[in-house]
């Protein structure tokens, strides 16, 4: 076969232009790497194939973390926001999170433009056919047009495209997203490298024409004013925001589903792969919770300049005719017209226990993976992995230590540790309950937790450094104030005098940070102080074990007494630290101690 060898050599090639791919390409190029982003279709860059919504509980915190590290999702979401809420506003500050409805097209174009403007970043519309290796070394990527691109590292962010199969009712066809061809060559290419693949399923509900919805029968859900923002650097948009609408399914909807279950690929056994439990189809809800006579639905606009509405809560893979009947059984949707049918999709993912902490595959140095290929779902989860993979590819090329976030440091750290230590049984979504140090991982302190890393990596512009330090000092000063900032603010208002602490900077000279934000963070930390101390103490204990590393060369067979189950788990995951080893399911305390002693002996001997 003859190849066209592309004349340019790259440091990093990113395969896929979804949320993981965009962040990966921007991080790598932002760190000075000659980067290429390759996608089947430049018009679907950063497409929100399911709900055009960013954030939520856990996810919202991740977006804040991405922003604090210098990623772009937060800024683009703020730019395209059309409706937004702070969730859990009635609950404690530690568990609040922002969620936004975005203009689907605006988001895409804003991200595409960001990519186009990025220095060191090239974009190409082509489809990767396989990872190009010579012997046991990574050379780059070969495309279906027989072009070869040479690169030191490759980041795969293939989303749902690997061997994608779409189901609507009992008919199924191949596709990576509706109307987009799947990627056929990549899966065999990965298997040839010795990587194990699995198969997952996900789905998306139908879209309706808003002109045919009777909103007067629905409950209005107005946006928060002003809307919460994701980015530390953006200002409240001037544009008027839009409401979302709430309606409910009824008994007739349930009857329609029950009568047509035999036409559901999920219930007829056509789809065998695992879908996410937390994102059930309406069939699942009706069958598993028969005593619920009604299920809530959110009608969410897809953009400012379109009448298309996303029906949040009506995910299904029933046939189109049943979908129409089902939709029309809902109050307010009696005359609704279907613009796009709901569908389910099955795709290959790559077992994430085969990855290292830096998201590099253990079998082929230089090959990184991020997003749904690692068994996750969600734009935010994908973007965060993309960012981390992009950063780590750059660090590898610069021969620097990998960038790994701890479980006590970020949701991103929790997610990656979960993925590579525990693997996935269903598409992985972040939940705040996955974090053992939840009170530390808040949306209000993402900057304090992570921005120092953002500066060190060079992904946050230097010009913010001075004001960030001022902000940190302000938080520090307010924390030290006796009796707490809250009281002091009250005193000041009632004409009292300031304490001995020097007056922290006014809002103007630490933009984009403000004194109000500092006060709010300090107030939260004081409210939770006993618990935060406890979280920190627990994390500190664990840290000791996080620092006991397990060398690649460790021969498990040399450790006497470890039981077979633990040994198999160790071989599968190949943990990097003692703490990680202890988090692997099914490992016994005795085995961890034996491993510990062995490691200590190695270190001493």
């Amino acid at each position: 076969m003859t190849f066209f060898d592309h004349p340019q050599d790259f440091d990093v090639i990113v395969i896929g232009g979804g949320h993981a791919g965009c962040e990966a390409a921007l991080a790598a190029s932002g760190m000075g790497m000659r980067t290429l982003l390759m996608t089947q279709d430049l018009d679907t860059i950063a497409q929100m194939s399911c709900n055009p919504s960013i954030g939520g509980l856990g996810k919202g915190q991740i977006v804040r973390e991405i922003d604090a590290l210098g990623g772009h999702m937060a800024r683009v979401a703020d730019l395209s926001v059309l409706s937004a809420h702070t969730l859990n506003i009635s609950r404690g500050a530690a568990v609040r999170a922002p969620r936004a409805q975005c203009d689907k097209k605006l988001y895409q174009f804003a991200m595409k433009h960001t990519l186009e403007l990025a220095k060191n970043l090239a974009l190409i519309q082509d489809e990767a056919a396989r990872v190009w290796t010579e012997g046991s070394e990574l050379r780059g990527v070969a495309t279906i047009r027989n072009t070869r691109y040479k690169s030191k590292t490759v980041i795969l962010t293939t989303g749902t495209f690997l061997n994608g199969v779409i189901h609507i009712g009992l008919s199924s066809f191949r596709g990576g997203r509706y109307n987009h061809p799947p990627s056929d060559g990549m899966s065999p290419s990965l298997e040839a490298l010795g990587l194990k693949l699995g198969r997952f399923k996900t789905g998306t509900p139908m879209r309706l024409n808003g002109r045919t919805i009777d909103f007067s029968k629905c409950e209005e859900q107005p946006p928060d004013a002003p809307p919460p923002l994701f980015s530390h650097f953006t200002k409240t948009p001037k544009r008027a925001l839009m409401p979302c609408w709430i309606t409910r399914t009824g008994e007739r909807s349930a009857a329609i589903i029950k009568a047509n279950l035999d036409k559901s690929p999920l219930y007829s056994g056509r789809i065998k792969s695992t879908g996410p439990r937390y994102c059930p189809s309406i069939e699942d809800k009706i069958v598993k919770f028969p005593h619920h006579t009604s299920h809530i639905l959110f009608l969410e606009p897809e953009g400012f300049d379109t009448e298309e509405y996303y029906v949040n809560g009506l995910s299904t893979s029933l046939p189109e005719e049943v979908q129409l009947e089902l939709v029309r059984s809902v109050k307010g949707l009696e005359r609704a017209e279907l613009m796009r049918a709901a569908y389910a999709i099955e795709y290959d993912y790559c077992l994430p226990v085969q990855l290292d902490y830096n998201l590099e595959t253990k079998v082929l140095p230089g090959l990184f993976m991020a997003g749904q290929i690692n068994g996750t779902t969600g734009y935010e989860e994908a973007a965060a992995q993309g960012l981390m993979a992009g950063i780590n590819a750059a660090l590898k090329i610069r021969k620097l230590a990998p960038f790994i976030l701890g479980r006590e440091e970020a949701y991103i750290g929790v997610m990656i540790d979960d993925l590579i230590s525990k693997g996935v049984e269903e598409p992985y979504r972040i939940f705040t309950s996955r974090a053992e140090y939840r009170l530390l991982l808040r949306q209000d302190n993402a900057d304090l937790r992570l921005m120092p890393h953002g500066f060190t990596l060079g992904l946050i512009p230097k010009r913010f450094k001075k004001n960030f330090e001022l902000y940190k000092a302000c938080v520090g000063a307010l924390t030290k104030t006796k009796g707490g900032a809250v009281e002091r603010i009250g005193k000041r208002k009632s004409g009292g005098t300031h304490s001995s602490v020097s007056k922290p900077s006014s809002d103007n000279n630490m933009a984009p940070w403000t004194r109000t934000k500092a006060e709010s963070t300090v107030k939260i930390e004081k409210e939770y102080s006993g618990y935060i101390t406890r979280n920190l103490r627990e994390a500190e204990k664990m840290k000791h074990f996080e620092h006991i590393s397990i060398p690649d060369s460790l021969e498990l067979a040399a450790i006497k007494g470890i039981c077979i189950e633990s040994r198999q788990q160790f071989l599968k995951v190949r943990p990097r630290t003692l703490a990680q080893a202890a988090r692997i399911p099914g490992v016994t305390p005795t085995d961890i101690q034996l491993l510990w002693i062995h490691l200590t002996r190695l270190a001493k001997g």
Binding site: H544, P589, T590, K604, G605
Partner: protein
Amino acid sequence: MLLPDTTQTIVAPASAPGSGAIAVVRLSGPGAFRTAAAFLKPSSVVKNPKNRFSYLLSAEENGRLLDKTIVVFYRGPESYTGEDMVEISCHGSPYIVSRLLSLSIAGGAREAGPGEFTLRAFMNGKLDLAQAEAVNDLIISEGETAHRAAITQVEGGISKRIKELRGALITMLGELEVRLDDSYNELGELDIKAFTKRTAAIAGKIKALADSFKNGRYLKHGIRVTIAGAPNSGKSSLLNRITGSGRAIVSPKAGTTRDTIEAKLTLSGFTVIFTDTAGINPRTSDAIEREGMRRSLKALKTADIILWVQDASKKSSPADRRVGAAIERGSAPGTDLVKVFNKGDLPGARTPSETADGTAISCRTGEGIAALKRLLIREEKKIFSTESSSVITSARHYSALLNSHRELEKIGLLGTGRSFPLELAAEHLRGTLTALAGILGETASEEILASIFKNFCVGK
């Protein structure tokens, strides 16, 4: 936590149970002195003791003297483990040892895991590499023993009960978590009053289980078999024969044994402590013999099994009947009684119907001893299964239950109003489950999620 927490103070007996005049309980860790000060008096001494000095101190429980003890304090790193250490030498009674353990646990220590003292010594550079091999073996062997005990306990009801409590806690945590993730309040508010009531109920059950530790007499320190009988019926000979030792002095003279004597034997994996008693002779006027009698009666009271030894070469005597009455009066209800007819090698003096309800043996020839052992194994299994289904027998489980109870109680302090902080209640439920991990292993976040998806219709 799966990894041994080196910031905690650990406690364990450092001497074998029931085997000597004195026993040693050892504490090690940053809080060793503080823990000791919780029950060793005068506490002024304990708070700031001289390094490597021994003190005569009173171990007190609820203000009452438990035992006079000799205590040595070691300041780290000048100790076996390299940490602050306290060694308490007390009288060699399993009861005193078990009380000292629970006092230490109540004072903030937890029971040491298999080989943990040695592990700490190794980690703190107190052992060289050659010795480390021994640490390995120790952990493997002690771990196996603990593992076996755990398996046996799983068959009992206690583990089932803890599992049920754990399941209930996970469900409750799920109820909190699902609301913390309920973006638009679809589920409705949690009934806080009912919720705190439920936590209090579970806390009560955990407390009751923890309290049962005090009643759990046997497992950790062995099943107690008291050998009783009329003078010169061959009690000491039986002790020597069954344990294969010369622990008791025997002579043809009645009343050779003046005090109770203990000897230990492992029977089918269980530790059995045999106590040989002085002959029961209520009519004696000898002061020493009377004291021996008092001790014999006490040994009857604490026995799990009583072996009533009778001389089958003689006719049933008034002395035998007095012993029978003493056993009836002196033993705790439910104690198993096994009649043993000794001296079977001599011409018998009793009718078959008189000996039908017992086991014939001969301490001199050893005849019938194996059958007696088999009978004891059956009895101990019976005791084991009844007791392990109702009481906590491991100090480790005890401390885990105590810690989880402490955590759970804090939920009650969070209030009951609208401002009830779900996220903090979740912290405490998590803490409760982490404490229980000492018994049933870690609670994975997957289990909490599974409980949510099972019980609630969530997700869009």
